[in-house]
């Protein structure tokens, strides 16, 4: 199966072509607030390197977050448009899940995946070594994340995943391992594509997982309008 994948939930934007579990081509950029501008070029590059025709794509995938709200939508909307145009399924893959999946099976311990959620918070989710979710994604204040991990996992062996793990106080006991790799430091389309191949599209729609609510305040309304009929 040929999967075209996008991941734009973090400061890095990536595009990848994955075929039967193998990453055929991938491209990335890390220009600030440039996902929409950079994606078309990355896409052309990936397709050329993979040597695929557009019609050869069997499935499209994108990271669903959590992450930057606008960033997420840039990747997801593009993926949805391509899938609609080609008439192929579009799959959404959790961005923290993709980071967990970038850790080799041989590395022991629960994967505590973190990305920078801004406003002094981290997005954190925990997966076991087989990729099953232990704690779904949540936004946690940086100062509380450490205690949260300890509460959630007790004395279990733990491996931290994600460049944002640097925001945790790393000198606090017990020492935690930190797995670092290009495809694990931030969510990567190559892993999103690999996971998407094995997911059931109907159960994993290409919809964002925002985790946070939109900021919005309701004004006081008084009801004195007489019934408004038509005409």
């Amino acid at each position: 199966m040929r999967v075209l994948a996008f991941e734009t939930s973090s400061r890095r934007g990536t595009v990848a072509a994955v075929e039967d579990g193998r990453v055929i081509a991938s491209r990335s950029h890390d220009a600030i607030d440039q996902h929409a501008e950079r994606l078309p070029g990355l896409l052309e590059g990936v397709l050329a390197e993979a040597g695929w025709k557009r019609g050869a794509i069997d499935r499209v995938a994108a990271g669903r977050g959590p992450g930057s709200f606008t960033g997420l939508r840039i990747g997801l909307a593009l993926a949805q448009g391509i899938a609609l145009g080609l008439g192929v399924p579009c799959v959404g893959v959790g961005s923290l899940r993709a980071m967990a999946a970038a850790v080799p099976a041989g590395v022991g311990g629960a994967r505590v995946c973190c990305t920078d959620a801004r406003r002094g918070e981290l997005f954190v989710a925990v997966y076991d070594a087989l990729g099953a979710v232990r704690w779904p994604a949540a936004a946690l204040p940086v100062g509380e994340a450490r205690a949260w991990i300890a509460r959630a996992l007790g004395a279990e062996p733990v491996v931290l995943v994600g460049e944002a793990a640097a925001l945790l106080e790393r000198d606090a006991a017990p020492p935690l391992g930190w797995f670092q790799d290009e495809r694990a430091d931030l969510p990567h389309a190559a892993v999103v594509g690999q996971l998407a191949e094995r997911l059931e599209p109907g159960e994993h729609p290409a919809e964002p997982e925002y985790v946070r609510e939109a900021d919005a305040r309701r004004p006081e309304l008084r009801v004195l309008v007489p019934a408004l009929g038509d005409g």
């Binding site: 929409a36 896409l43 909307a77 949805q80 448009g81 391509i82 919809e207 964002p208 925002y210 004195l224």
Partner: protein, 351 residues
């Protein structure tokens, strides 16, 4: 050529399939009004989220209702400015994906140019309108209020003659309705209440009376209403409320019509277009019709579905460029501001 048009600039997710002669094959609009109503205005993040939820299904519905597949479509047009950046991005990215996947040309359309395309659209095989060009247009909606001279439906042939300095007219209706605790959107509610009110009871003064300017302003009027409420309290009984609505609406329309007619006089054109959501206002329609008739002007007020945000107007405005072989491709860029140029007596310039 058949063109797929996509619009997500504010609080409507819309898509349409339009033939390049203006015939609308399908026109699907998903409105977010009820989503934003509890907040008394559009909440940008909620708007973006809702666009992403609905954009692909709305596009699919537009294709289905037109009874065509993408293989019958010759190009894609998408609103790329002005509007809420996050909302615009959803439509632009979706359109980009569709165009890229099918190898179709893609053009970015200025939303305001789309509104000015309203008179060129026709539904159900209605005969085409006699050529309206050149015309002066009053665009009045919740997000925009401006006057244009339109010589052709392309950005370089459209000039802004004047615009609001602060609130858009629809926004003023919405804000006054909010002050009065009436709900959102306020325009239709105020319109309905004003019908049974006496506009002479509450003394509000008309904004921007200077005859030599085509600028508009509505925030002062809103402040007058706020002061009146401060002094007199919220109008309790229905009659006071209706009189206040009638006075407010009357002054808004006084200002809109005065500037519109002055613009028509200056430009020497014989055709007038009123478009945008506020064009649904009954008093505005009636008074504009009477004023135009007195002066022997042709007035075009498109049907409400052509006046409010829709994908058909974007498809048509884009079709003119697509038919000419243009393709913005990857260069389509989102911008919160319009590209339509401003022309004053002192000269041009971009806003």
């Amino acid at each position: 050529m058949l063109v797929l048009g996509i619009e997500t600039s504010c609080d409507e997710t819309a898509a349409a399939v339009v033939r390049s002669d203006g015939l609308v094959l399908s026109d699907v609009v998903h409105s977010q009004v009820s989503l934003h109503a509890p907040y008394g205005g559009v909440v940008p993040e909620l708007a973006s989220r809702d666009h992403l939820r609905n954009a692909a299904p709305v596009v699919q519905a537009a294709l289905d209702r037109a009874g065509v597949g993408l293989d019958a479509v010759g190009g894609v047009a998408v609103t790329c400015r002005p509007g809420l950046s996050g909302a615009l991005l959803v439509g632009v990215q979706l359109a980009r994906g569709i165009a890229w996947s099918r190898g179709l040309p893609l053009v970015g359309v200025d939303h305001l140019l789309g509104h000015l395309a309203a008179p060129f659209l026709r539904w159900d095989d209605a005969p085409p309108l006699a050529d309206p060009l050149p015309f002066v247009a009053l665009l009045v909606s919740g997000g925009h209020t401006a006057l244009y001279r339109v010589d052709a439906l392309e950005a370089a042939q459209v000039h802004e003659l004047g615009a609001t300095r602060d609130d858009a007219a629809g926004e003023a209706f919405d804000k006054v309705a909010k002050l009065l605790g009436l709900g959102y959107p306020g325009g239709p509610i105020v319109d309905r209440l004003a019908r049974e009110g006496d506009p002479a009871v509450v003394p509000l003064t008309r904004p921007m009376r200077a005859r030599d300017s085509l600028e508009l302003s509505f925030s002062g009027l809103k402040t007058q209403v706020a002061r009146w409420i401060e002094a007199d309290g919220l109008p309790g009984d229905d009659r006071r409320l209706r009189d206040l609505c009638a006075a407010f609406q009357g002054r808004v329309i006084d200002a809109l019509l005065a500037k519109l007619l002055e613009a028509v006089r200056r430009e020497g054109v014989r055709t007038v277009l009123i478009a945008g959501g506020v064009a649904a206002n009954r008093e505005l329609r009636a008074r504009a019709a009477a004023a135009c008739e007195r002066r022997g002007l042709r007035l075009i007020v498109p049907a409400p579905r052509a006046c409010t945000d829709n994908g058909a107007m974007i498809a048509y405005a884009g079709s003119l460029r697509l038919v000419a072989g243009e393709d913005d491709g990857a260069a389509v860029a989102v911008n919160p501001r319009t590209c339509l140029e401003r022309r004053t007596r002192k000269g041009g310039g971009r806003r």
